[in-house]
């Protein structure tokens, strides 16, 4: 009797729901990381609408107060609410992360495509420049660009984006070389399809998807580099609530007010780990070879 009921229940469950259930069971970390990332993203989008205080409001009554019922995660030396500032900081983290990766990916796509398609001297020249850029860590590159461009959110995005062109260009070029050698590109040529159409219809889509995957993985690197710039004090300028900046501000008080650096530090660490897991998951999903089996 009970058995038939169970069978009945299983049969009635919609297929996609069952699929989701097994997905959650097989990849709990991916789902958890995805939820964390989405939560950060939601906070970043909603901004001051959901923060308990104005992130730049200075509560002179309670400077450097430990976590309490009013200020859940404590306040900094100006009496600014750390929870509000950490939440507002998510917006800048995503803004700099996503925009600079977009910039880097587009630049890398252009350079990599040109190098991969042109070949010969052009390729040699472009790739030697990329090698030179890659010889320096992206943080050092970004510092160099900041030294030229100056400070501010837009400058940080530009600096980190430029520093990311190198690695993107290299992967795009490798993909272009690989795709170009595949028979379907030759077959399109035999049919008499024009060179531009071959690039647009046959090469670009096969290069674009790996690039998207690469971009999702690089967002965390971009966030880390831009936070590092603020931490060193050459990125985003105060009083903008940026995590790197907040960590730097709390650095001097870490022995008796550890929450000041701890809160933005934890926010940064949690987001980066979540993004890394999500990026890996997306890469596995996007790989057409792995997907072919399903």
């Amino acid at each position: 009797m009970s058995e038939t009921l169970l069978v009945d229940k299983i049969a009635r469950r919609p297929a996609w729901w069952a699929g989701l259930g097994s997905y959650i069971r097989h990849r709990p970390f991916f789902i958890l990381a995805l939820l964390v990332t989405l939560a950060f993203l939601a906070i970043a989008l909603l901004g001051t609408a959901v923060t308990p205080f104005d992130p730049t409001f200075q509560d002179m009554e309670a400077p450097m107060s430990p976590p309490s019922s009013t200020h859940w995660l404590g306040t900094d030396s100006y009496g600014q609410d750390l929870l509000s500032r950490a939440m507002a900081g998510a917006r800048y983290a995503f803004l700099t992360g996503i925009c600079s990766v977009l910039l880097g990916a587009l630049g890398g796509l252009a350079v990599g495509l040109m190098a991969g398609l042109a070949g010969g001297r052009t390729e040699w020249f472009l790739m030697r420049i990329v090698d030179a850029i890659l010889a320096l860590p992206s943080l050092v590159m970004a510092i160099a660009f900041i030294a030229i461009l100056g400070q501010g959110v837009d400058k940080v995005i530009l600096a980190v984006g430029l520093a990311l062109i190198g690695p993107f260009a290299r992967t795009v070029r490798a993909d272009v070389l690989q795709v170009r050698a595949l028979p379907f590109v030759e077959a399109a040529g035999l049919m008499g399809i024009g060179k531009l159409a071959i690039v647009r219809r046959h090469i670009l889509p096969n290069v674009f998807f790996p690039l998207v995957v690469q971009a999702t993985i690089r967002i965390s690197e971009a966030i880390l580099v831009s936070s590092s710039l603020s931490f060193i004090g050459i990125g985003i300028v105060p009083p903008t609530p940026d995590w790197g900046l907040m960590i730097a501000e709390g650095r001097g008080f870490v022995s008796f007010a550890p929450w000041m650096s701890g809160v933005p530090g934890a926010a940064l660490a949690i987001l980066l780990i979540a993004l890394a897991i999500v990026g890996d998951g997306i890469r596995e999903q996007m790989d057409p070879k792995q997907r072919a089996g399903h």
Partner: protein, 326 residues
Amino acid sequence: MTALLFELLDVEKSYELRGGGAAFRPGPKRRLRALDGVRLTVARGDSVALVGESGSGKSTLLRVLMGLTSPTDGRALYGGQDVTQLKGERRAAFQREVAMVYQDARGSLNPRLPVLDLIAEPIRHHKLRAGPAVRDRVLELLDQVGLPAATLKRYPSQLSGGQVRRVAIARALASEPLTIVADEAVSGLDVSTQAQLLNLLVELQRRMGLTLIFITHDLGVASFLCDQIAVMYLGRIVETGPTRAILERPAHPYTQALLNAQPRFFAPIAQPLQGEIPSPIDLPPGCRFAGRCPRAVPACREDDPALMPSGQGRAVACIRPLTAAA
């Protein structure tokens, strides 16, 4: 009089090899002759099967024929013009009139495009249909190769090996070609699918005078589909002629050996060919089959026989052909 479509005039394709030396010191230069003096003419409406072991140069011959590889010596002509030098209208005509089916069917289809776009590409490119008629034509082609209409929205990764081959053949037919050049187009398919595709090709051949150049391992396929056969061995054509005559009375010992190696019902495989196909690098003088030939005499290791006509449209490159002995 039949118009000649393809002509290969003493085509030679060799690759320079380096290597085999110690680190940082290249070894002596060696030459790999993938094709060595191949002559072949294909007239409109002909159907030619290229048979031979792996490594005998069949695929290289096809690439030279299609202008994908330029020969190191000799010329490959299409309609009397060098195939790599075709310009403008002639080039566009060649691109529409000749369609190729790749051995690696899956690799020849863009994995990011659905079947509809894959097959529609040549139709749209050559402006053979417009608007909604394109889709109808694709459906018609899918039906011809025996694939259901639902295949339209599938991606190559969702199709089986046999289905991918059929999509590749449908795409080759989409440009309404005069010639289909196919590299192992039907091998690896199950027998009923193979029969369906072979019947389709034979029908197109009869109805539209389709020219076929077909690489195959399967002598059965060759005899069903093709009037002419060219047997290749180590970059040379060793025997050509009408398929029926050659398969019934082979003149070259190698053709005989291939026939013997063909499995038959309830019979053990008689006299399998001894040894491996030798390396095409730095071949010894004399007939290149001499090392494996059961009929070889000392003269075979000195004289390299050329492909000589032996009557009835046949030609054979052997100093002791089987037909002469009989």
